[in-house]
Amino acid sequence: MGTPAAALDELACLEAMRRGDPACLGGFFAAWGDKLYRLALRLTGDPVAAEDVVQEAFLKLMAGAERIEGRARLATWLYRVAYNASIDRLREQKRLQPVPAEDDDAAVPMPETLVEFRLSPEAMARDAETRAALDEAIAAMTPSLRAVFLLRDVEGLSTAEAAEALGITENNLKVRLHRARLALRERLSAHVAGRGAGEGRA
């Protein structure tokens, strides 16, 4: 992740912020603010809570005394704080009662809807209905599956980094990622199949 130069800048910047110098806070915020906001928004489903989560993560980072070694560590640290803060918000909103435990040993269901996605992912992403179907499919997963999918497949963390950020083993992370990908695939396939049928009738 990143070049050595970038790692040096961000870690030097972090030390300056901890000394009370906000000169590079803007750049740091530009690099991380939106990433953390997107994760928190997807987890909480609430823009106000998501903004709160970003603020909490930055305040904790600036107040923290522990050394953070390397940019990968910084990423996992920030994502972990944002994830935990998001789960706290869900609990406060009573939208998570109680935290559902993931059953990583349960069998993953076999794919049911088999339909070719004829459009490219980029073309699908430009379609508002498909984006809405994707949002719904992501929101329908449990927060822990959602977090795994977002960190690995959307934010691009490695298996080891995502597992560290979420405080689970790499093996559990892989099981959950597999489950999340297949669940999303199933829902999007149903969406694509439904649209195909719609076009046929038109």
Partner: protein
């Protein structure tokens, strides 16, 4: 390799995390099984779509207000 076995290691196949032997078995099955091919393609497309369809970021005025609050907090901490 059966379809069920393929689906179980689909994610590892996509992440290129399979042993060479198992990978070869997956590819042999895929070459002959249209259904599993569709499952693989639609799963890959789902991942790429999720990456391409970014969720909204903070509105500009909210972002600037948040940044100002953080700058104040930073100065106070010294």
């Amino acid at each position: 390799m059966t379809c069920g076995e393929l689906v179980r290691c689909l994610s590892d196949y996509i992440d290129d995390a399979l042993e060479p032997e198992r990978r070869a078995a997956v590819e042999e099955h895929l070459a002959a099984c249209d259904k599993c091919h569709i499952v693989l393609d639609s799963t890959r497309c789902t991942i790429l779509l999720s990456r391409a369809a970014a969720s909204p970021s903070l509105a500009r005025e909210r972002r600037e207000a948040l940044l100002r609050r953080l700058e104040q907090a930073c100065r106070r901490s010294s």
